[in-house]
């Protein structure tokens, strides 16, 4: 029971200064999250790093193999393919999602305060990911999907959205964009409400058009919020898994074998837990690097509202 240790020590010494007495409740509030973080993230991450240096099939004890897994990874065409298709997914998903969500948020901000509109926008996000994926999978079926039926009526050629290797990743990326769009828009919308109306009034007095206000006022002042939204959505986007798992299973051929699906496949279907841990470690380093670069480039810690 080491978790109760620090608080017992602190509580045992009365008569502290005010700053100190704030520390105790603060620690208590942080404790559950810290405990959860340690047990479910920090420890597994450290153990994963260790396992990535072993040959491990979960049933027999891990055998230390040094950097063998990383060596194998470099010459594994499926690993490089996974990075490529994941990057393609993230670019389409985040690109479309961010631009569309920003437009939606600004429209909401400037045109309507309706809770109903906000609710409707959030609706797709409230449906479980797997269900969204399956419903689209069926709607987009080449032969009997309703979307292809409609293309047929319009006199257009049918399209194998999930089945065509060139279209599978864009399709999955756009299905998930559809689901997350409202949620991202709401995050940005919240950021918009922090911009003081006085700034807009001043801009209006100076004769700025709606367009100018967007590019000169809204966007710059929204930068910290956009940075946060981007970091969160990009990391989430890299972790795409369930949509692939219930639709294409990594196919056609390897067109949608994204990195998370490849890791899962290696570990739970093929018992290569050591190798899967190495793949995860590389992904961890990649994501940490991307988040750092994003935060630096967008100066997320600073605000122009001073």
């Amino acid at each position: 029971m080491s978790i109760s240790h620090p608080s017992v020590r602190l509580a045992g010494s009365p008569g502290r200064r005010r700053r100190r007495s704030d520390l105790l409740p603060a620690l208590v509030f942080v404790l559950p999250a810290a405990a959860g973080f340690t047990v479910f993230y920090l420890w597994p991450a450290i153990r994963g790093l260790y396992l990535s240096l072993t040959s491990y099939n979960v049933f027999t004890p891990p055998r230390f193999v040094g950097l063998d897994n990383y060596d194998r990874l470099l010459s594994d065409h499926l690993f490089w393919n996974a990075l490529k298709v994941t990057a393609e997914y993230v670019l389409i998903n985040i690109g479309v999602q961010t631009v569309a969500a920003l437009l939606l948020a600004v429209l909401m901000h400037r045109l309507t305060r309706s809770l109903v509109v906000r609710g409707v926008l959030l609706l797709p996000f409230l449906v479980a990911n797997v269900i969204v994926a399956l419903v689209w999978f069926w709607m987009l079926d080449f032969q009997i999907g309703i979307v292809n039926q409609m293309l047929d009526w319009l006199g257009l050629e049918r399209v194998a959205f999930f089945g065509d290797p060139d279209l599978a990743i864009p399709t999955i990326a756009l299905v998930n964009t559809w689901r997350h769009l409202g949620y991202t828009a709401l995050l940005i919308f919240a950021g918009l409400q922090m911009i003081p109306p006085a700034v807009y009034e001043a801009a209006a007095i100076d004769g700025a058009s709606e367009r100018q206000m967007f590019f000169r006022v809204t966007l710059p002042l929204l930068r910290p919020v956009m940075a946060l939204v981007l970091v969160l959505t990009v990391i989430g986007s890299f972790q795409v898994f369930d949509t692939v798992a219930v639709t294409t299973n990594g196919g056609p051929i390897n067109a949608t074998r994204v990195i998370y699906y490849y890791i899962f496949d290696m570990a739970f279907n093929r018992f290569s837990f050591g190798y899967a841990a190495a793949l995860s470690s590389v992904l961890f380093v990649l994501l940490a690097g991307i988040a750092y670069i994003q935060l630096r480039l967008t100066r997320a810690g600073e605000t122009d509202l001073a």
């Binding site: 602190l10 979960v58 032969q143 009997i144 089945g163 290797p165 294409t248 051929i253 899962f264």
Partner: protein, 445 residues
């Protein structure tokens, strides 16, 4: 002081959350955890479970069903976390891996002690469950074979008498009468048939033959019946082959012919097949006139609304014989079960005539492993208007081939899925099988 109390309360919460998994011994019957994947079969095994509890009031069976696609990863996770079921339905492709890792309970002593008569089962089925270590891990519960399922209406429209389907012949050069039939049953959007001039292979309304997938390394219901009727075998021996035969000319010419059906527009392309709904749904919507299917799916096809189906045997190949994979499921017991006696009692019951002949056969969903039960299952199917001879004739005529059991099947499968998907999508030549075969042989090494 408040802080301390809440920390203690939290600690108490954490502790109470962790430590309450032990069950009270002697309180009521022992519950046996049983897993399976096929929802179609759950009713009959629930009936077996009820009969089992009636005969053994000390035991209760809790059946949990997981879909096939998550079944094995869920099971792996359960083994790792110590929450594996006591007994579970198992598959020949997957059990060797678990057996090799010591996760399954060997039952040799129990079989000997209780004098289980292994000759009760269809020939060869029982020994499929003896792993590489020479130990037995399962008792057979059913068998399955492959046949053609056709849409009666589509046959009528094409002017074909279903009797013609009894004598279909196939060869890798021109596809024989079998390909002629498939071509005839294919109709494009203008109503032109596959064997008529002006047939538009790019706009097909109904394909003569459906496709489920590229079949990976097994092709059980996709291409195994052709390849094996062309004299091909999966490996140098079965079980536990040391080399696999995917580079064999007989296999390559079979695949070349089979994929040519896609090119000719008689069978859907891989992008259509993987674009959404499963083969059965497309068949149900009238998009396929025929499909090749495993016996376990029969009843699901007959439950499709708006389609009247019939069964026909798979075609005779260059060997002069038909061929079908002969696969069978069995139950396995987890090595970590808390109650091996209860688990064994339930497994034994599942493998007994009391369950297989008296209950499972009469449900008419699958063919039980016990020889005597086949006739009874045929009758149960007949009662539902299904003549299952096209499935059972393989057993009577000795045209079954036992399903392959090999080491590292998951790794072999990964290589073969990639290779076969590429060949079926015409992104790689059939000769890419040479390289793939070297890869999978290295895995077996």
């Amino acid at each position: 002081m408040k802080g301390r109390i809440s920390v203690l309360a939290l600690a108490a919460l954490l502790l109470s959350g962790c430590g309450q998994s032990t069950t009270d011994p002697g309180a009521g019957p022992v519950t046996i955890d049983y897993w399976m994947w096929d929802t179609n079969q759950q009713p009959q095994y629930q009936a077996c479970a009820d009969a089992f509890t009636k005969a053994n009031p000390d035991y209760k069976v809790k059946i949990t069903q997981y879909g096939w696609s998550d079944y094995w990863s869920t099971l792996t996770a359960a083994f790792v976390s110590g929450t594996a079921p006591d007994v579970f339905t198992s598959h020949l492709s997957n059990y060797p891996q678990f057996a090799a890792q010591g996760q399954l309970l060997p039952i040799d002593d129990l079989v000997a002690r209780d004098k289980i008569d292994l000759s009760l089962y269809q020939d060869g089925l029982a020994d499929l469950w003896v792993a590489k270590d020479g130990k037995r891990y399962g008792l057979p519960k059913d068998f399955d074979t492959v046949a053609l399922i056709y849409n009666k209406q589509k046959l009528k429209e094409a002017g074909i008498d279903p009797k013609e389907l009894d004598d279909l012949r196939w060869n890798p050069q021109d596809g024989g009468t079998y390909e002629k039939l498939i071509a005839r049953l294919t109709v494009d959007e203008n109503g032109k048939r596959g064997d008529e001039p002006g047939f538009d292979k790019k706009h097909v309304a109904t394909y003569g033959l459906g496709l489920n997938s590229s079949g990976s390394g097994s092709g059980q219901t996709e291409w195994s019946m052709y390849a094996m009727s062309n004299g091909w075998a999966y490996g140098d021996r079965n079980p536990w082959p040391t080399t696999l035969n995917y580079a064999d000319p007989r296999f390559k010419e079979t695949i070349k012919w089979f994929t040519s059906l896609i090119d000719k527009g008689y069978m859907p392309s891989m992008s259509i097949v993987t674009s959404g709904v499963a083969q059965m749904d497309a068949y149900g919507a009238g998009k396929y006139a025929m499909v090749t299917e495993g016996s376990w799916n029969t009843k699901a096809y007959w439950a499709l609304k708006g389609v009247e189906s019939g069964l026909a045997p798979t075609p005779v190949g260059p060997t002069g014989k038909r061929a079908s994979l002969f696969n069978g499921l069995a139950d396995n017991i987890s090595a970590t079960t808390d109650n091996p006696d209860a688990a064994w009692a339930w497994m034994k019951f599942l493998a007994s005539p009391a369950c297989q002949t008296d209950i499972v056969a009469d449900h008419g969903v699958i063919f039980p492993a016990i020889k005597q039960a086949t006739v009874r299952a045929e009758k149960a199917f007949a009662k539902q208007g299904i003549d299952v001879k096209p499935f059972t004739m393989h057993v009577e005529q000795g045209t079954t081939h036992l399903a392959l059991i090999a080491d590292r099947w998951a790794d072999v499968s990964a290589v073969m899925t990639e290779t076969m998907d590429a060949i079926f999508s015409f992104k790689a030549p059939v000769d890419s099988l040479d390289q793939a075969n070297e890869k999978v042989n290295a895995l077996l090494g």
